[in-house]
């Protein structure tokens, strides 16, 4: 990978580990110190394309390719105005055309194609659709507001739960202290056997501990803050599919090869009838792979005898 470098002062990430590359609307990069120096007055021209720039429009470059940076910038600007949604269109086709138009505009602006015309197009769009844009802007605001509310609610719940846990903890500690005190008092004042009292108390404590274990588990969350449900829900449409009934059990049937020729010798006959004596003995390497001379022999014999009686019209029609 090529090292990132400032095109003006040629500093690289290697020489200056704290190098921060900045990018402005024109898509050309500069390092932070060059920006500081060139744009001392707050505005100036890009050293590469001479486009007038403002200092406070410089952003830290997130993507390696400054062109991507530029496109992201343009896209954000365009989408501020082109904020129609699918519901605003009668058909999917129209919505798709609209999306394509957005892509066209972004592409043109990124690649400096017909900039003036494209800008005119945007202006015209803004004029024609002022109301819709305004409405959608407020709608976006409303959506964001609702989301924030949801997050707030979640936070509150979280806090309440934390508090509950804390209380439980302190209660628990107090109880332990009380128990200890009771044990000491019992030992001090009762006339019973000390060992017996200790075991009694130990049993009691054990019992209590078990009870505590059965405390209700934390309430199961089944919703993301965005309102999307997860985990097990009682939604009837999402019930697990009923178990399908199992089919009949597999019954093995021995393979009856279709030969259409003389019956080839069985595997056991290969040796007993002396076929094997005419085969080359397998090498240890071949044997390791599971190949034996008998297998090869049987295969050759089978292939020799298969379909020896074959006639094209399969049967006697042709023969008789």
């Amino acid at each position: 990978m090529e090292e990132q470098a400032c095109p003006r002062c040629k500093t690289t990430k290697y020489r200056n580990p704290s190098l921060k590359l900045m990018v402005n609307v024109c898509g050309h990069t500069l390092c932070e110190s060059c920006v500081d120096m060139l744009f001392l007055k707050g505005s100036g021209a890009c050293p590469e394309c001479m486009v007038p720039l403002r200092r406070n429009n410089f952003r830290v470059q997130l993507f390696e390719d400054p062109m991507v940076e530029k496109e992201v910038d343009i896209r954000r600007r365009i989408l501020r105005d082109y904020n129609k949604r699918e519901e605003d269109f009668a058909t999917l086709e129209e919505f798709n055309d609209y999306l394509e138009e957005i892509e066209d505009i972004v592409y043109n602006l990124c690649n400096n194609i017909e900039i003036i015309e494209t800008n005119k197009r945007i202006e015209a769009y803004k004029r024609d659709n002022r109301e819709v844009i305004q409405r959608n802007k407020t709608r976006v605001g409303r959506d964001e507001y609702a989301l924030e509310e949801l997050l707030e609610l979640e936070k509150a719940q979280e806090e309440a739960r934390k508090k509950e846990l804390d209380e439980l903890e302190t209660e628990h500690k107090k109880k332990k202290a009380r128990d200890k005190q009771a044990l000491i008092e019992e030992l001090m004042y009762s006339g019973k056997d000390a060992a017996q009292i200790v075991t009694e108390f130990a049993e009691k404590a054990e019992k209590q501990r078990e009870e505590e274990k059965q405390l209700p588990p934390p309430k199961n969350m089944n919703e993301f803050s965005t309102g999307i449900k997860f985990g097990q829900t009682t939604d009837p449409t999402l019930l697990p599919a009923p178990l399908s009934e199992e089919g009949p059990l597999f019954v093995y049937e021995p393979l009856i090869p279709y030969i259409d020729g003389p019956t080839p010798p069985e595997a056991s006959d290969i040796k007993s009838m002396g076929y094997i004596t005419h085969m080359r003995q397998e090498t240890p390497q071949e044997n390791a792979g599971g190949f034996t001379a008998a297998l090869a022999c049987q295969r050759a014999l089978q292939e020799a005898l298969q379909c020896l009686y074959y006639t094209p019209n399969t049967g006697l029609g042709a023969a008789l």
């Binding site: 030969i259 005419h278 050759a300 020799a304 005898l305 379909c307 074959y310 023969a319």
Partner: protein
């Protein structure tokens, strides 16, 4: 298993007439489609089915020569498979559509792959004289076409393993002395079956047995007793629908005629081989000249039409500018000597 193979199901035909029918059909189809290209008499301009046969026969000879001289030396089964592909391809296509010299190399290349004879494409084209880049392009671009025309049935059952089986069986069950001396005769017989349509008409075991019987008769040996006593003794039980005990008399008769029929088959195969005539060079040259004119220019790598089509294909695919020269076929000069396997 040959009995369940696609070779038996789809690529074994009843008789010669059926094959001939396919070939004539392809021929007339091509002529119908290209009838307006002919300047004069159709017979003069297009190849006749007989001329096509002659041409393909010549290219089958080239195919064997090519395989014999192939470096590294290739096993027999590759040759057999390549022949099967070649014959199958031209059952459903005419040489006017696809020139046999291109299909020939592609058949061998695919056969090498299928028979696990590992050669790379560069190694492969080293065996071809002429422009190697162009040959590479032709082989690779025709490869999928060939596989498609074979209906994706690539497994070929060659008669070589059945022959081994018969030799083992003969050694075990008959008292013939040293059956291995039949091998040279068997090999030459199988080589000559390649030039016939045997692989489209008979099963590999039948071809194998015919080869063994032919070799035995050449060596003045008699295997008749082996064949009747061992191979056809069980024919009676094998015959479907004839195990009826009541009609055993008839059954016996059927068996006899069936066996006669099978024997007839072997002599048929041998006759097929015997009747094979090598095509005359002069005639083939005239046909090739004719072919150069009437072949489908869409599939001719030297033609402008083909280059144009290819260029469009490339530009359509990834929006390359048309003058991009990164592919070979378009910028090869009109050198017709590429792929001249024949010389």
């Amino acid at each position: 298993m040959y009995p369940l193979s696609s070779q038996k199901r789809s690529w074994t035909f009843a008789n010669d007439a059926q094959l001939q029918e396919f070939r004539v059909e392809q021929n007339t189809k091509y002529i119908e489609q290209h009838v307006d290209e002919a300047p004069g008499e159709l017979q003069e301009y297009f190849l006749t089915p007989a001329e096509e046969r002659l041409l393909l026969k010549q290219y089958e000879i080239y195919l064997v020569d090519f395989c014999r001289r192939f470096e590294p030396a290739m096993p027999k089964c590759v040759i057999g498979t390549a022949f099967s592909y070649f014959k199958r391809f031209y059952l459903n296509n005419t040489p006017m559509d696809y020139h046999p010299k291109e299909i020939l190399a592609t058949c061998v290349f695919v056969a090498c792959k299928v028979e696990e004879f590992n050669v790379s494409i560069s190694q492969f084209v080293n065996n071809i004289k002429g422009d190697r880049n162009k040959a590479t392009d032709i082989v690779l671009s025709n490869e999928l076409l060939l596989i498609c025309q074979l209906n994706y049935y690539l497994t070929i059952h060659n008669p070589f393993r059945p022959i081994e089986g018969f030799l083992i069986d003969i050694k075990t069950r008959s008292n013939m002395q040293n059956p291995d001396r039949l091998r040279p005769q068997i090999d030459s017989f199988i080589d000559s079956t390649f030039f016939t349509d045997a692989c489209l008409l008979y099963t590999p075991s039948q071809i194998g047995l015919a080869a063994v019987l032919h070799a035995a008769s050449k060596e003045q040996e008699n295997l008749d007793s082996y064949v009747t006593d061992f191979l056809f003794v069980s024919a009676r039980e094998k015959l479907p629908g004839l195990i009826d005990a009541v009609r055993s008399e008839l059954c016996c008769y059927c068996c006899k005629s069936f066996i006669l029929y099978i024997f007839n088959l072997f002599s048929e195969i041998r006759l097929l081989v015997k009747n094979y005539q090598a095509p005359e060079r002069e005639k083939v040259k005239a046909i090739e000249k004719k072919l150069d004119k009437c072949r489908n220019q869409n599939n001719n790598p030297d033609s402008e039409l083909y280059k144009e089509r290819l260029r469009r294909l490339y530009t359509d695919e990834d929006d390359l500018p048309a003058e991009d020269g990164s592919f070979h076929i378009a910028d090869v000069s009109s050198d017709t000597s590429a792929m001249n396997i024949s010389q």
